[in-house]
Amino acid sequence: MSSTMRRYNALNVFWNGLTGNKNWDRAWRDPEPKPKYEVIIVGAGGHGLATAYYLAKNHGITRVAVLEKGWLGGGNSGRNTTIVRSNYMMPGNCAFYEHSLKLWENLSHELNYNVMFSQRAHVSLCFSPGQRDAMARRYNTMRLSGIDGEWWALDKLRKNIPYLNYGEDARYPIIGAFVQPRAGTARHDAVNWGYARTADALGVDIIQQCEVTDFIHENGRVVGVNTNRGEIRAEKVGLAVAGSTSTLAPKAGLGRLPIETHKLQAFVSEPLKPLVDHVIVYGVGHGHFYISQSDKGGLVFGGDLDFYNSYAQKGNLPIYSDVAGCAMNIMPMVGRVKILRQWAGIMDMSMDGSPFICKTDVPGLYLNAGWCYGGFKAIPGSGWCFAHTIAHDDPHDINAPLSLDRYRKGRHIDEGGGGPVPKHH
């Protein structure tokens, strides 16, 4: 870490607390863009920032700029419901998400920034023997791959989570739950800020209010970008712009992609006393629901996509009522709780529900996209793998299956077996 950045420690947190918090340094610089870098990352979401950090930290590449059209962390990485888990079973996803979860486990120490990673367990409710059998297959596959997972029968579930609706007359009576104890939540802003601050200290330029409008091609290579702040050149350019990927891809020379942009909403209630100690999720019939409680006391929850293409970062009422119905199904006592805030982000929905971290057919251009509902948990692993792919011009074994041409070769990574539709989570 460069000497200009003061590390956070107990003493200076205490001292600044006593002196009105007026003497902190900036967390990161606000540099002017230089004419040329070794690597440009487009998009300062969690994935772009983590990539810049691991380029500097793991590969010694510090002439890096992260270009962001708005403010860093203002996209999906600052709008999600912060669930972190690795309960995947398909080759390709399994190793990748578990690698990411392992990085989460040491992230606050690594970044010298409290990302508030809380391994409070991810509890996936079951409602029918068929659903239980399908999930048993998943959790057994996980266990064989060295990922933690267990079955909580009704008595154990009741003991640990007494407030759920266990009534026999419930619309969907609960029969048990599959649990990943090491899963949990983190503070989304802290993850973005922690990566930004640490990358900046290693020499990375994070340039906000800088929108990439086009790409500079020379001899068939991408050699830079045009922005609202002028031309910026680089030997390599990586895209990490989530739901905006399809708007930049043709300009970069990639043409059409196997991605649709859809919006996903999230909701936060008024603050309550501690109630929900775990992440609780379920999918049954047309219902899909996930809920946790933030440290400020708000219930943080969400459900499905709207299922029609959208670039509008705002929600709508039908999902509001679906999600409220799902909440009432398992936790009828929240019926009088008020929803304080609600918002939406635009998701890069791939055709099998799995992402792309890869080289492209255009020399000098690298792609990070296709995160669907689930890219928050992937931030550390994705940055780690994308940095490796860019630095070596070759994917790491962990992300080699996450290629853009896998559909062409019939190597889909379709966890749910749902076929080629941009609806998977």
């Binding site: 399809s246 708007t247 029609y308 293409n309 959208s310 670039y311 509008a312 709508n316 559909y407 062409r408």
Partner: protein, 106 residues
């Protein structure tokens, strides 16, 4: 809430409809080369702006509709019956442009 002006049923909330995806996809002949099928099944224009798409009025007449909707504002500028034969038989073949924005305000 987006509202769609169904040629049979009139202006209805979009929660009466199911979204059936991109209407610009042209499926190739069954014996077409693999590459053509790859493009049709997997690749999407995914525009930020006007998008031609199918909706089905499941909570109403059941018709498949072809709709042009802006993916940023959600404004709908065109609604017609998706099946050309159906559209001709009912005399509602012409693309129907709603007078006012029927979507947009969410």
């Amino acid at each position: 809430m987006i509202r769609i002006d169904c040629p049979f049923c009139g202006l209805r909330d979009h929660s009466e409809f199911t979204y059936e995806g991109d209407a610009t996809v042209q499926y190739p002949a069954l014996d077409a080369p693999m590459e053509d099928w790859y493009e049709a099944v997997f690749l999407r224009e995914n525009p930020r702006g006007p998008h031609r798409e199918f909706w089905r009025h499941v909570g109403g007449c059941g018709s498949f509709l072809e709709v042009v909707r802006d993916t940023v504002t959600h404004e709908i500028t065109e609604v017609k019956l998706a099946h050309p034969g159906m559209a001709a038989a009912t005399g509602k073949a012409a693309a129907k442009t709603t007078e006012k924005a029927t979507g947009g305000s969410e």
